[in-house]
Amino acid sequence: MDRYRRQLDLWGVEGQEALRRACVVIAGCGGLGSVVATYLACAGVGFLRLVDFDRVDPSNLNRQFLHWPEDIGKQKCISFKEKIAALNQEIAVEAVSSVIQDDLAEEIIGDADLIVDALDNFSTRFILNNAAVKKNIPLIHGAVQGFSGQVATILPGRSACLRCMFPDTPLVKDFPIAGATCGVIGSIQATEAIKYITGQGECLVNRILLWRGEIGSFDVVPVRRNPSCAICSTLCGDAKESKP
């Protein structure tokens, strides 16, 4: 427990035990995933499942700090697992090399307590959202581009889902990303995950946080569940009453 001494005053032994018992899926071993995986491992989340189909490319190194030059060509989820397992040897880490697609998404998320969306495109995010809503597993959304980003926490059955919040899939192009933007947004996602698991504070539920690094500005916008949402109004399982 000594390694967690500086955080025990925040959530107590009970909260630390909740973190130790938690299983969190991190979907995407890239820029956001680097930050989220690092902070959740350091905080003592007991089981991390790291999911990515891709391999490390030199162009990843400006922001995906868990991948190092010697990892180029390696599977991203393996590269992550090596670093995260070394960072905290008290936790269990699983690497899953897979594309998140319709017929696999539910199997990949399994019976996790929480999912963190650290993906890089909305097509896959919508697949993950469908599976999360269907299995009633909370999902923490994050995305970045340039100096901008956004975060929202989705509690299926109790809040707006990704489909309630986002109308369309933005055009995919080779846009720039400042590494530090991943740091800002990934840190907020990790904070949301820790708050949810330990029962501290108030998550960004039915609210979306928008960050503009160019001018150093945050906005928080209220969002509402769409009663006729094609996803959460039909797929949602029984609402969870308690946190892990």
Partner: protein, 91 residues
């Protein structure tokens, strides 16, 4: 009728949040076009070349997202809050 317009994220570069007075009965689409008519940078940020609201712009009335391909005719009412923001996709 008085409508609070809240442009957020990049859209706040071209229009500052404040209440605007519009004739009663205007729809969301009409209000956005009226704003764009007097503000070229805002119009360019909001509408595509076919004069449709860009697909990655979120339009919310009192916190509820509208599908602007089907709901741009929704009438606004005095005191409504219209929020607009773009969102990003990378990770």
């Amino acid at each position: 009728m008085k409508i609070l317009i809240k442009p957020l994220a990049e859209l706040s570069d071209s229009l500052v949040e404040r209440s605007f007075e519009f004739p009663d009965g205007l729809s969301v689409g009409m209000v956005l076009r009226e704003l764009g008519r007097h503000n070229q940078p805002f119009r360019q940020a909001l509408f595509d070349e076919q004069d449709r609201v860009k697909g990655f712009i979120n339009v919310l009335v009192n916190g509820k997202r509208l599908d602007m391909t089907q709901e741009s005719d929704l009438p606004l009412h005095d005191g409504d809050e219209l929020s607009l923001f773009s969102y990003v996709a990378g990770g």
